[in-house]
Amino acid sequence: MNQLLLIPIVAFAKVLTVVLRLSGRGSGTALPGYLVGKYFPFALGVLVQQIPTVVAITGTNGKTTTQTMLDAMVSQGDGIKILRNKAGANLSQGILSELLKQSNALGRLDFTHAILEVEEATLPRIAALLKPQVIAVTNLYRDQLDAYGEIDRTEKLIRDGIAQCPQAQVVVNGDDPRTSRLTQGLPNPTYFVSLAEEYARFLPYEGKLHHREPGTPGLEATDIRINEDLTTDFAIHGTVADQTIEIAQARTASPGFFHVYNALTALTMATLMGLPPDLAIQGLQTFQPAFGRGEILSRQVGDKTVHYRLLLVKNPASFSLSLELLRHIPALKLILAINDNTADGKDVSWLWDSELERLNQAHLDWVLCSGIRAKDMRVRLKYALDQPPATIPTVESIQDAIDQSFAHALPGDTVFVMPTYTAMLEFRKLMGKTLDIV
């Protein structure tokens, strides 16, 4: 009966989408999902239940990259059709909008897998409707504090979400003290992904690193090497669903320890979804960094090409770890682009919790501060550097930052750009990239 009820609802959503597009009021992605979710809350569950395999990824950092990696892995299987929501559309209305958009006029969804990125506070609100077979929690770092107030609360919300899905297998970051305790007292089979302690102890987790007991189900990465081209090599050992997994060398096209966790999480999820690990690792090699997360954009004028490598920063943890990577770059050219729009967080206090001091070990050639809060960024940098340059240019307009950096760079140079979320969107748009991704 519910399935039949879907028909007018889907028709309404599709007409609304067309009307919104024609009237030029946005791409029509948010409003249909919002209205349908508000008046027909059962629609989400009815739509998603048609898809045989549903998995959800949540956590403060790395959702989008893990989703993209898992997509690359699962695509290796035969007869696979994957539905995924776009980065940013990870609230319930965004997920619902995607399902409405992908369904036919009868409300039918022709997909074998749904790989959904779910915002942390949204998980408990929709977990019972999604009934995911696997839930992964990448990590729990403090994000912009004005969003939810406290990380303790976020931890509780995710635990509440998992508690609604006793059937789900759970994959957590096994080094993060917060995620590794999420399923304590819950019946869910749990898999832990972790890095060998020699790496994990340098990561800015809150509280004491969770110690992994030998024989714990899940995967561990050892022999991690970050290459000069910002790819990362590592070995994988462990057990998932009673299978022993030993991979001598895996590579991700994205830089750093965070992405090793993301790859381990995606591999564990893929294995739980029945994909042979070797095939999943093959898929990982086809993975391209998600937008803004290590992505390279190039600008060419005449004979001169300059590359821009985007490393999104959204909280102290991601900022500090990306800075750690830059220590390996010869003659580093850097743009720090900080906005304080709602999606970035209106409070820029977190710049002071980010370890800009790590740049003292980098070979800094030049640095430029941009975005609405360029001047705040410059003060932070001045206090972080043992020998600050006589002047640190600030260029509030991101267009001007691109123009100036292009003029200043030598042909073939790679400029590293560390933008907040809306600064990253703007940067991509100015470089001729649309907001839609993969």
């Binding site: 504090l145 004005d146 107030g149 406290e150 990380i151 303790d152 209106k346 409070d347 820029v348 206090s349 977190w350 710049l351 002071w352 919790d353 001047k375 705040d376 410059r378 003060v379 932070r380 001045k382 206090y383 972080a384 006589a390 640190i392 600030t394």
Partner: protein, 287 residues
Amino acid sequence: MPYSLTLTHLYPDHLNLYGDTGNLIVLRRRCQWRGIDCTITPLTMGDRPKPGQTDLYFMGGGQDNDQVAVVEDFHQLKADTIKADTEAGVVFLGVCGGYQLMGNTFLMGNGQETPGLGIINVNTKAPGTEVKQRCIGNLVAEIPDAMYQDIQSLYADPQTANSQTTDARTTDSRTGAPHTIPKTLVGFENHSGQTFLGEGVEPLAKTIAGFGNNAAADYEGARYKNVFGSYMHGSLLPKNPHFADYLIGLALRRKYQDPTLTLPPLSDTEELEAHAYAVARYGPTRD
């Protein structure tokens, strides 16, 4: 003579929300740039300090669990020393939770009023029916004239204002250009607690934009002797270098018993531009 200062960071592991550490980074660098030897000592759970061992205390805000955890330790092991020190004029800066905890009552996240340390006479209460949401956003406030004149007196070469309508200036040590010393403080607040000042406690500044102590009054922060409380994160000191220097100056003058001691000027172009930008963007529209 070479000066030195000892700064004490209270509960760095537990009260470290919102970039509060930035305040210590700024104090340390500004001392270093002036050749003042600066030591930062962490004082955490289980430590029992003795009076007279520090020149400046700093305490930031924390999550509820952490604030509850520290308050008992604070009462048992630290309150007597800090009370004795602050009564003797030692400088103390508390931000948000660190400000509330110093008062008679502070507020838990669930709205429960809890006894604080009672070192300064302020009370923090739950928002009443008239205030339904948190005080959150950018905050701009103006410091009192007396404090402004004190700050001018700190600098070795202030071109002191003749009247209160003219801004005082100092000189950029790098470029020689004049710097205007701001009369404002800028920051970002995020609190549900409504703080009311009792007798003997002065407000730190008058609110121009944002809430400050509570949604009803126009005042931000508190001062009792050399104890300062503020709701300004952001962090407070990076964009308010004149206030950072004020704390350093008060601590030095007290330690070296020299009320005429002055500080060499620094090159504050970056800090003051960020300050002016915040005032222009988040303060009220100027006529």
